[in-house]
């Protein structure tokens, strides 16, 4: 898969680096049998760059720390993260060259497609300077979330069991390209919302709070789920929030530069209508 | 198996104001056998535990002093303590100053801010065991004159030792020198062959003092540094305070410079 794209990528990277347009190319390379993120800083090294169906990492996570001009390989989810970070003024557009590439869904070492890729509707990059290869046809209909069909009690039981596994390592937050707060509410000590060394209900709270913070921000790349050492299906939670934001506020994060953060704006008519809707639904 | 995590409950005998943000707790610990330079883990139940240098000499039999600067959540609670309150202590822990090794030699104490606390333990020890040591010079600097601690000891020290003071900044009522503590080194002319330098203070101060000492040709083996790190357990289990393969809590806090010289991040 993708050897043409790989050639185009190497060519583009070589051009950008040798002309001095960028200081660094952020892409993927092989290390043993693993595909890993890599930083290429000279034209002579571009042969290391690869493109295949195991380039799972969301490279946007590295961009905030790089204080140089970067060309970054961006799949659908990477580009959405970049767009959202640009909107949040976390990145300088002028320092970025986005090498867009369409994704066919990434697979793990066993060749099994990641769940986040399976449900993805945006495999094409939404923002790019150069497009490598061609755009692909996107899936149009969302999969139904099987958890929706469970009763309230069963859902609480499901999440309690999942959170019982949680070891509180915060890998889900740390691996998230959209988590960029200088001080995280989850680690705040005064007031200490999440009791350190607390019980499973604190873990429940942790994930609930994190989910509220992902509203209008999560771009569903699935990095959290992949980073989780105990395989808690966190994407269910964040996807649910994404769907709610879409339905209630008509915004999908990382898709349009003009969209405002949905919880920092309001729309009187729409909100009043939905408020009424939600109330009626409850009764 | 005795449990090293259980603090001993002790009563606060007195609280002394040292400076605007430093208080000394005088604790009901009798016949303490600590070495100068060792520290205690001080518990305020419900708020946490902090490592604090013992600032009193082991020659005092009726109490120990712990001097605490108000810098964080636990220390701010410590500052609200009153005589009669109960706190917990564990320790003394760590390796203090090598009192025996430096016996008979001249000593050059260099302290910065609250870093004078462990030095005071040693200085007062020498005051009480005077014949065992050579000449003693004390160089002490603080941000302002108001930030100097143990001022009540200064007259006593002046009468027996050579005391030099300096403040980083001018302030009203301060007629002494202004500058950094390493500038005081030009005031003393130690017999380098027979002198140990004993340094404690903020990281940046220790770093610049060390540079000055090296400029004076002090050998690494004759420089004693007392380090501060984030510690939790105090007994080498929690892993927070390492400098290379050394733990500040059980191998330090006092290190001879030549023993830690090669390590990364000794200054941060």
């Amino acid at each position: 898969m993708g050897s043409d794209i790989e050639d185009a990528l190497r060519g583009e990277a070589e051009k950008l680096l040798s002309k001095g347009d960028v200081d660094l190319v952020l892409g993927y390379c092989m290390e043993g049998d693993r595909v890993v993120p890599c930083f290429i800083s000279s034209a002579g090294e571009v042969k290391r760059l690869v493109w295949n169906n195991r380039c799972k990492n969301n490279l946007a996570v590295y961009l905030r720390d790089l204080k140089v001009r970067v060309a970054v390989v961006a799949k659908g989810c990477d580009s959405r993260a970049i767009l959202e970070l640009l909107k949040a003024k976390q990145l300088e557009r002028d320092d970025l060259v986005i090498l867009g590439v369409s994704c066919k869904g990434m697979v793990d070492r066993e060749g099994v497609e990641y769940r986040s890729c399976g449900i993805c509707l945006h495999r094409n990059p939404v923002i790019y300077d150069v497009l490598l290869g061609e755009l692909v046809k996107e899936k149009e209909v969302r999969d139904v979330d099987e958890l929706e069909s469970l009763s309230l009690g069963k859902r609480l039981e499901f999440w309690s069991k999942q959170f019982n596994k949680c070891i509180g390592c915060l890998a889900c937050r740390n691996a998230c390209p959209m988590c960029f707060c200088e001080e995280c509410v989850l680690e705040k000590k005064d007031p200490e919302w999440i009791t350190r060394a607390g019980d499973v209900s604190d873990i429940f709270l942790l994930h609930a709070i994190k989910a509220t913070h992902m509203a209008g921000r999560c771009i569903e790349c699935g990095e959290c789920e992949r980073a989780c050492p105990v395989d808690i299906p966190l994407m269910h939670l964040y996807s649910r929030v994404c769907r709610d934001v879409e339905e209630l506020f008509g915004v999908e994060s990382g898709m349009d530069q003009k969209d405002k953060p949905p919880l920092a704006v309001f729309d009187l008519e729409r909100d009043a209508m939905w408020e009424e809707n939600e109330k009626n639904k409850k009764r | 198996m005795s449990n090293p995590y259980i603090p001993k409950k002790v009563e606060i005998l007195g609280v002394l104001d040292e400076s605007r943000d430093v208080k000394t707790l005088r604790l009901d610990v009798r016949n303490s056998k600590h070495e100068p330079g060792q520290f205690m883990e001080l518990s305020v139940f419900g708020y946490g535990e902090i490592p604090v240098s013992i600032s009193s000499s082991p020659t005092l039999r009726d109490y120990i002093d712990l001097s605490v600067k108000n810098v964080g959540s636990v220390t701010s609670v410590v500052h609200e303590a009153e005589p009669g309150d109960i706190v917990g202590v564990r320790g003394p822990y760590g390796r203090g100053f090598p009192v025996k090794d430096v016996g008979g030699c001249d000593l050059l104490f260099i302290g910065g801010g609250i870093g004078l606390a462990p030095l005071r333990s040693f200085i007062d020890y020498i005051r009480d065991e005077r014949e065992g040591f050579g000449d003693v010079s004390i160089l002490y600097g603080a941000r302002t004159a108001d930030d100097m601690v143990f001022k009540q000891e200064f007259d006593d020290w002046r009468s027996m030792f050579d005391l030099h003071l300096i403040a980083d900044m001018e302030s009203s009522g301060w007629y002494g020198r202004v500058g950094f503590v390493n500038e005081l080194l030009s005031d003393v002319s130690p017999d380098i062959k027979n002198t140990y330098a004993i340094v404690c203070g903020p990281s940046i101060m220790m770093k610049s003092v060390l540079k000055s000492l090296k400029d004076m040709q002090f050998p690494d083996e004759q420089i004693m540094l007392s380090f501060e790190r984030r510690m939790k357990c105090g007994i080498g289990k929690c892993g927070h305070c390492n400098i290379g393969d050394r733990y500040v809590c059980i191998d330090g806090p006092v290190f001879r410079y030549d023993k830690v010289k090669g390590y990364r991040e000794i200054w941060g």
């Binding site: 105990v230 | 198996m1 946490g48 535990e49 990281s203 984030r230 991040e265």
Partner: protein
């Protein structure tokens, strides 16, 4: 030596449960955990290793170390310091060696009573490996796939049965009453040796004779690291913890809790007053690697890595400590 039929292993565990709390591997959503076995738990024998290391049963993710009243007039130790007798079934040789590493830390100068109490009251039944996992490299540190010391009983998979070897008297006593164990033959023993040897041969070996950590190889990876902390949490030898006091002001009762901390977290070394002696991501990464491969050997005469491969399998940025070790060997 003895042997036990594969189908009888669960029966044996049920026998042991009469007198002991038994910890054994179970599978949930395809992920293997060690769990204190209760009614209805289905034990699995088909696994490479658990997602989270067995250290959580000795040095729990969070534990109460003290209880006290607000005024400090009453301070009591955790009540259950005398732990129940436990049997840990199915621990892999690498993880047994990891416990030996933790022992050396817990016994150094001051003894850690909470850890050692659990440790002393737990019998280990280890399951040797006959097929390595994708990221296993125990052969590098000689911590597997076979086990000669550290556990009480060692089981080796022979297909339809397991060879049972007692390494300690306690181990022998543990199964002496059981009728499920039969005498093993010489052929069984040879078969087990062959399987272990085959497994070991298929794995990488490195000469650590003049190994030293290659800093360049670390620096490059430190850039790529996401500092997600998961490697330190799942590692069987990472022992660092943080301590926090909790106080319920309504009841006037409080606890002192300790819980796992990660050296990859910037606040790990940060002191009050915002001074951080280990600033910068690279410094933290370097410390983690050096702690395992340099500081532990110099302090405790044992490598702080046992080659379980958990951190490699789980690293979101694909960083392999084995690669770093290789760089330090070939240098």
């Amino acid at each position: 030596m003895k042997k036990i039929r594969r189908d009888d292993v669960v029966k044996l565990i049920n026998e042991l449960r009469k007198n002991y709390e038994v910890i054994a591997p179970v599978k949930l959503d395809g992920v293997v955990y060690f769990k204190s076995i209760g009614e209805g738990d289905v034990i699995t024998l088909d696994y490479v290793n658990s997602a989270v290391s067995p250290k959580e049963f000795f040095l729990p993710q969070r534990e109460r170390i003290l209880e006290f009243t607000e005024s400090g007039e009453k301070v009591t130790v955790r009540e259950d310091l005398k732990s129940k007798k436990r049997v840990f079934f199915g621990i892999r040789p690498c993880d047994v060696n990891a416990l030996l590493v933790l022992d050396s830390v817990a016994r150094e100068e001051f003894e850690d009573p909470y850890y050692l109490d659990r440790r002393d009251n737990t019998l280990l039944i280890s399951l040797e490996c006959i097929e390595p996992g994708d990221d296993c490299f125990c052969t590098v540190f000689n911590t597997g796939p076979s086990l000669d010391e550290g556990a009480d009983l060692v089981l080796t998979d022979l297909g339809d049965s397991y060879l049972v070897n007692s390494l300690t008297d306690e181990g022998r006593m543990l199964v002496s009453e059981s009728e499920l164990l039969k005498d093993a033959s010489k052929t069984d023993e040879q078969k087990a040796d062959k399987k272990i040897a085959e497994c070991a041969d298929s794995m990488e070996k490195l000469d650590l004779g003049n190994f030293s950590v290659d800093e360049e190889s670390i620096k490059e990876r430190a850039n790529r690291c996401l500092y997600c902390y998961s490697c330190t949490f799942i590692c069987p030898t990472c022992y660092c913890f943080d301590v926090v006091d909790r106080m319920d002001h309504y009841s006037g009762r409080g606890d002192r809790m300790r819980f796992w901390d990660s050296c990859m977290n910037p606040s790990f070394t940060e002191m009050a007053g915002n001074f951080n002696p280990r600033d910068g991501k690279a410094g933290r990464f370097m410390n983690r690697i050096k702690h395992k491969l340099e500081y532990m050997p110099s302090r405790h005469k044992v490598y702080g890595c046992v080659g379980c491969g958990r951190c490699i399998s789980n690293c979101p940025a694909g960083i392999s400590i084995l690669d770093i070790i290789r760089c330090g060997v070939s240098k």
